[in-house]
Symmetry: C2
Subunit: 468 residues, 2 copies
């Protein structure tokens, strides 16, 4: 991780904090190490955050602008941060940097029914936006697993996915416009409420997924869609992961676009069922969860078609939820996957993607790599998107775990890239994967990213050491 401690003298750091207090006397600012500690980490295992200069809690765009202006003046780096639910080390503290926590900017400014748009501050919790949209008969589809506590600002920073991407797409597909504080403290707007808008370059898209390294998002205009029908839910169990993969391919070929098309391997099914006693088939090699929110007869058709595809592919059993309560109960199985694996030890969840037809091949690769490195792995994820979460489970306190996991991760990324896949489908690059970015994108493409970073943040004060 890039350290700025050496570059920024103790005097400069003090001068910056003094200027900050003088200019923004109302700003909450923590500088005591005991108080800043809980803002150092995100949810990524094996990261080594630095020691921050302090943690600030702006409450307005003007606050953020002033913080950035002063930071630029004093050459102090900044780390923007939401709830800290990230899984790639994008929001972890940097030595000598001020962490800027945006959770106090948590107002939903507008739900605009006529234009099917929401205007929100970055600290709004994803689930709170979902509820506000639902009250207006609308729907905000992106739902990362952490949706009950992650923030929209964090979702935008990481271009987060979730369980509904097969049908609806990812965060980027729902960001119409942003207000962004640039590296010199100036404030720009990109996009707006227009469904179509091609004036100039698509700046919105360049900030989405840039993890706060190009600017700090202080407001977002988001696209909403009409509220869908209640979901119908189906579980199918398979004697092999290849059979499950064949079912996913057959569903796709049949032109069925379920809202959710999730996979869990045997290890994960057993871990979930041992914890929650849901009555899952513990002998199955793989399970698919398939949902439709198409409503009415269409939903029935979609799930019947999906059930047929599963049975033809060799499913040993197909279970359909009788009602919403039972559907919720089945959905727990998928939501419980990460937690269930964590009960067995340290669970280091990863995130790779492949073109969806390569899912069976990728599952075999993960199995091979797991065996070669002697590392138990549970795999679950968004099979419909080709986005998988191989999760290594190791004994807490195993001193060799990190080294062995890192070796296995490298092998998995290489396999994913060899299949035309990605080192990260939805968790982001952060500090955890920046070492592998060139492997996937190539040196020349990464050079273009660096050129854009240099153009927008020439002094390198925005979230240094992340992404690139």
């Amino acid at each position: 991780m890039t350290s700025f401690r050496s570059a920024v003298s103790a005097d400069a750091r003090s001068a910056f904090l003094e200027a900050l207090r003088a200019t923004l006397p109302g700003l909450q600012l923590l500088t005591d190490a005991a108080e800043t500690e809980r803002y150092r980490f995100d949810e990524t295992e094996y990261t080594r955050p630095g020691q921050p200069l302090g943690v600030a809690f702006p409450t307005s765009t003007a606050d953020v602008s002033e913080i950035v202006r002063l930071a630029a003046e004093h050459a102090v780096p900044l780390v923007p941060r939401g709830a800290g639910s990230g899984l790639s080390g994008g929001a972890t503290a940097v030595d000598g940097a001020l962490t800027v926590v945006l959770t106090r900017m948590d107002r939903i400014l507008e739900i605009d029914r006529a234009n099917m748009a929401a205007v929100v501050q970055p600290g709004v919790i994803n689930a709170d936006l979902g509820r506000a949209a639902a009250e207006a008969g609308l729907f905000y589809p992106p739902d990362p697993a952490s949706f009950e506590w992650c923030t929209i600002g964090g979702n935008i920073a990481e271009n987060s996915g979730g369980l509904r991407c097969v049908k609806y797409g990812v965060t980027r597909d729902f960001v119409l416009g942003l207000q962004v504080v640039l590296a010199d403290g100036s404030v720009i707007r990109t996009g707006g409420k227009n469904a179509k808008d091609v004036a100039g370059y698509d700046l919105t898209a360049i900030f989405v997924g840039s993890e706060g390294t190009l600017g700090i998002v202080t407001e977002a205009t988001l696209r909403l869609v009409p509220a869908p029908a209640p979901k119908l839910t189906l579980l199918a169990f398979f004697p092999s992961v290849v059979a499950a993969g064949a079912a996913v391919a057959a569903i796709t070929e049949a032109g069925i676009v379920p809202v959710t098309l999730e996979l869990m391997d045997a290890f994960t099914v057993r871990a979930v069922d041992e914890w929650h006693h849901l009555g899952l088939d513990r002998d199955a090699a793989a399970m698919l969860m398939i949902e439709s929110d198409a409503g009415g007869a269409r939903a029935d058709e979609e799930l019947s078609g999906a059930a047929d595809a599963c049975l033809i592919a060799g499913a040993t059993s197909v279970l359909r939820a009788a009602d919403a309560v039972e559907a919720d109960w089945l959905r727990q199985a998928r939501r419980a996957a990460p937690g269930a694996l964590e009960r067995a030890g340290v669970a280091r969840m990863d995130d790779i993607g492949v073109p969806r037809a390569c899912v069976p091949q990728m599952l075999s690769e993960i199995e091979r790599i797991s065996a070669e490195h002697g590392l138990p792995v549970g795999v679950f994820g968004h099979a419909g998107d080709g986005n998988l979460h191989p999760t290594f489970v190791v004994d807490r306190g195993d001193p060799t775990a990190e080294r062995r996991i890192n070796a296995a991760r490298a092998a998995i990324y290489a396999s994913a890239v060899a299949l035309g896949g990605t080192i990260t489908g939805e968790h982001g690059t952060g500090t955890a994967k920046k070492g592998y970015l060139e492997l996937q994108r190539g040196a020349d493409a990464v050079a273009v990213m660096r050129a854009i970073k240099q153009a927008l943040d020439p002094a390198g004060i925005l979230n240094p050491g992340k992404v690139l």
Copy 2:
């Protein structure tokens, strides 16, 4: 328009052409003014293209890379070009520049059913891709009005829209990855066949809509979707544009997402009907065309709901196509709009957008501006997206036309921006609108665009004078 003629000496230009011929002896290269003339203009009225140094027709990425490398070496600017169907002057010739026509790179390299993706060269005609996708049971939604002759490369350069955006989105939403030749001739890939991929910055999005000013696209991986059901089509006629606007709002509020939701004003309805005798209501103040491709009972529900919304909003008549033939016939009405207006003189089609709830207000503004400038205007467009095409119709040879149209355009852009809208919904910035970019985006946001341009094309050889 930026001229490079002064900057590039005649000797340097000759040396460049010589080097090009020596390095790529098989490259077709036109330098005779009589031959290059047809590649100077696009479909935008009142543009003043420069005199190109020549026109080259590369047939491979390697050709393009070599052309760019030599151009960089000799400091000769380049203008990438597809079919020339553009409506913002994005592909018009620049003095002393080599125009690089990509229409010979016209192969569909792959239709990948399992991953629902297509890999194409930039010169592929939009409609040809549509047909190839249909043969595989798939669908490529973006369909600009020029879909029978415009190229995918041009669609990507302009981030083109079309008539199906309400439901499916614009070109950007279907570009999964690109191969791009950069300003130094190096070749990068962005994205791929992954449904979700967040490794590093979203370079795909920054190239889409950048009009060849940041790189030249030589291959694209596009997202396809399952083929929809045949369309059902409905026309509704209104006694006022406000009533039509109210119907659009009511359809949106009802949660209906038609595939097409098009508007034509009285001027356009009359022009179309006088030409084609379709039996449209020539006394109506506005017409909506609404289509559903949801299939079966759902399509019937959608159109019934839309018909109800129209009648409640005051529609004087609602016509539903009895079958596909009649639907095609009704669809002609909308497709014929630009041509019908052209019969009355020079038709200068424009392209603005507003948040969809502001459509009635924007229509009033256009009416007011048309009256103030004494300029007849026909308005049609994608009401469901808030994207309108006010089209001024003037006598051929009227020497005051251009000046008066430009004054009216400026007033329309100001009104659109005042309503939170855009100076271009789907046609692009090009040379026609770059003077208005700051009005909409603000100086600081345009400065960010300039910084990105400078970072990716420091010598300014890629399509100079366009967008920025």
